[in-house]
Symmetry: D2
Subunit: 147 residues, 4 copies
Amino acid sequence: MDSNPAFPSKFPVFITLPVQWGDQDAFGHVNNTVYFRWFESSRIAYFERIGLSAMMTTAKVGPILASITCDYRRQILYPESVIIGAKVTRIGRTSIKMEHELFTQSNQALAAEGKSTIVVFDYSTNRPHPIPDPIRRAIEALEGERL
Amino acid sequence: MDSNPAFPSKFPVFITLPVQWGDQDAFGHVNNTVYFRWFESSRIAYFERIGLSAMMTTAKVGPILASITCDYRRQILYPESVIIGAKVTRIGRTSIKMEHELFTQSNQALAAEGKSTIVVFDYSTNRPHPIPDPIRRAIEALEGERL
Amino acid sequence: MDSNPAFPSKFPVFITLPVQWGDQDAFGHVNNTVYFRWFESSRIAYFERIGLSAMMTTAKVGPILASITCDYRRQILYPESVIIGAKVTRIGRTSIKMEHELFTQSNQALAAEGKSTIVVFDYSTNRPHPIPDPIRRAIEALEGERL
Amino acid sequence: MDSNPAFPSKFPVFITLPVQWGDQDAFGHVNNTVYFRWFESSRIAYFERIGLSAMMTTAKVGPILASITCDYRRQILYPESVIIGAKVTRIGRTSIKMEHELFTQSNQALAAEGKSTIVVFDYSTNRPHPIPDPIRRAIEALEGERL
């Protein structure tokens, strides 16, 4: 999960992933569910950058997805690679809002956009957990602005 | 993919599916992408009822997903079965809007809700296709109202 | 994950699962990887019956797959349901051998066969764990023979 | 799906793929079914090299998997990348035998091995199809030996 310095983007985190042949469905294009796997991979890459993934191991506090959307702009066909960007647009008390864009590498065309709301969640008590200050500061440092 | 007559629902089409152990991710609950597979299965069940699946075979005209959302209300754990309802709420010239609700069978609790926009698509020309009148009438018959 | 009393079988455990439309790949038949998800689901159903799944929660001792095979006998097309049988054929010191058969419900035809070797594994120490006597006895009771 | 010139291998075709977080299951390691998706991706990469993928488009003649095995040597944890090699070891009248090895990139350790039998299949008549001479010669050229 490498970065692509040529990607023209407002996204502080992005990853590049190959389309696998088996990502296609019976209509011969990448299945709609695969985009959410890709969004997830970019989200996890973002969480690693801000220290949120580490908290899951140490304190059973981690992200849980509250909602997500995807607008499909173009069909994606194998073979192809996709570049997925992730950025945080808002930090609440226990949740953050994130936006995604997904480009096909062959032609740098926008293939999908998504938005998600992620809650910081205590998996021991099964309740939302206030976003720790170091996480909040790490997000703002990554985004280059107060959120 | 059976129906469940006990399901308290406004949905003309619904299906029941078992959660598979492998639907869970490293957080020990059903992964967020699986909900979209389930929505898809209910969507396809709906399309079979209105004759849209058959058109794909005969005329290369079939559904393509333009956008979809999911609001996650509860974690789903294995073992469980889920009941997924699908209903059409609007018919446009080339697209339809659909809503989904997803219940866990063990406690009849709402676990997720979704909305999607589906375009009727000519896979030979790669362009939207006007919704044929028989499809429109079949939807309205199923929903019991003009849309 | 219900049982099917009509299934003509030597298998003490079997499950019935619906094929989902999205289980198909670009060749228009169920993708080869899906059969392994189905074998897994039947394996887990077997482990629940003998108390091995419960040990994972209480003692971090659980199954780990050492090897598996699948012989594909027929293509499977949506819509369909499949019946997957699981039986243990040998119990070693730390491992068991299991066999699977997979039938399509529409015509009761054999669609695939598989064999697997599962190691009982201590996930804390990352080492094989001797099969506890209660597990061994539960398997023999289920199979109706010494193994 | 790039190549890795550092891979110490007897395999004429290999691909490198990132492990996605969602490839993990509830045991916190890559799920057993994902290895078959990876084998498939390496198989398709091989078929592209010998012209077999192109025949599917032009003549509805393509590969169908008859059997496959996987021996799991090590658990794979996220984050990681895997290198998957594919080589043909035998060419029959209508089938070929293929072998796979799967290495983790972080430590160049063997994580899994697999063998498969693939039939060249006429998807119009649903029958095996004799392997065309150009395909046979392309395999032998790639492997550097008569098979």
